[in-house]
Symmetry: C2
Subunit: 240 residues, 2 copies
């Protein structure tokens, strides 16, 4: 087994069917090979990912702890025991970069509180890649996670983001549960001003299905689309 | 020369002395090899990066346009001519992911306006990697670029970000010109509340010098540090 420096490694996971070599640095695999303790959002997808990185990965000799909505959060600190005694620990979310839009940040905050070393690895972030490809202001932006589900609150929130973008020139980014994506596009088209720009970035890094389209709201009103069940990022921008 | 689909490729550039294979997917190089038209923040660093990716890269047969503070922005559209006739074009910033904290977004917005395909590639983003490793809320965050230089305005702005983080639970991220980094840490330590958390993330991806430290303001006051001239990201978080 490879020697890897003791640290909490934040390991990005492929977010699409793209070949690993087009979305992850090969150096990540070298580090993964030296880790036997993992904090993961979902054990099954984590194991599958490790084997995709290295078909000979010793899953049986590895330890997995699930950090998600069902976790007793008082347990998390104990999962860093290997790191405290000098062994590397890995953190993986279901998809993309851990500790961004998933519960992994809790493990990181405990490590930081104790002065343990934290090392983020490079990988695909659909939030950042959507921002890059939108053509919107990347010198000021805000990510809001999920917006409210109720239609009235949602329209109100979407209008707030539009006026915030107009006032401060910042790109406003958010996500939606994939089966509600079409409803979100409709809400944006019906609610925002005609000249406000909306970027819809879907299936990022997928070699066949990636689609990143920026249009003014008045064009979205006329356009046909189907983003249902496709992982998608939404961006609003006024100004510039 | 490799055949690469016609698109505007957003090509991340190494932000440290790290070996390429630890920060960039090998697939990026395969795409770069098929591109002969580039829009870059700085021609010299762009050429050096291309040769680092592939020592045999045909620089002489390639065309470079500089998009930075000195550019006549009316020219930018004409640099997309190759793409309009079906040839790939690459965009590179000085360091990190293009079109985020650099002028490359203008080229992307023109491509989007004309319905030309835009493809972001995976690479190191110090903003996102700092957020991952901070342990702060990644489900809501804002990036503000540079803060004001004047001491009074700066303190005021820093306090605004602190209260925004407290009110909305969002991580607040910003950068500083590297030679002013120490002054920024001092400003944060003197201005913010003792229990507000500050993460200072420096030399991200550098195998020797990377340092990502989260501490409450009261600890930063006592701590010795020297971030002068080291590329650094600052993050503020209250709550959680």
């Amino acid at each position: 087994m490879a020697e890897v420096e003791a640290a909490l490694y934040l390991i990005p996971v492929n977010i699409s069917d793209a070949p690993l070599e087009s979305v992850l640095p090969s150096g990540n695999t070298a580090i993964i090979r030296g880790i036997r303790h993992f904090i993961v959002e979902n054990v099954r997808t984590a194991r599958r990912f490790l084997l995709r990185c290295d078909r000979t990965f010793d899953i049986g000799a590895s330890e997995f702890h699930e950090l998600n909505g069902h976790t007793d959060l008082r347990e998390v600190s104990s999962w860093l025991e290997p790191l405290r005694r000098g062994e590397p620990v890995g953190v993986m979310s279901e998809a993309g970069c851990p500790a961004v839009a998933d519960p992994g940040a809790l493990a990181v905050s405990i490590a930081q509180r104790e002065g343990l070393k934290v090392v983020p690895l490079v990988g695909p972030s659909s939030i950042l890649m959507a921002l890059m490809a939108s053509g919107f202001n990347g010198q000021g932006f805000a990510f809001h996670g999920y917006l409210p589900i109720g239609e009235d609150e949602r329209r109100k929130r979407v209008r707030e983001l539009e006026s915030e973008s107009r006032r401060r020139g910042m790109t406003q980014i958010f996500i939606e549960t994939p089966y509600r994506n079409n409803r979100m596009v409709a809400t944006l088209a019906e609610t925002l001003r005609g000249d406000t720009l909306v970027c819809v970035a879907s299936e990022i890094t997928d070699p066949e299905r990636e689609s990143i389209v920026t249009l003014p709201v008045r064009e979205w009103k006329k356009r046909e689309y189907d983003y249902s069940k496709h992982p998608t990022i939404f961006l609003i921008y006024c100004g510039g």
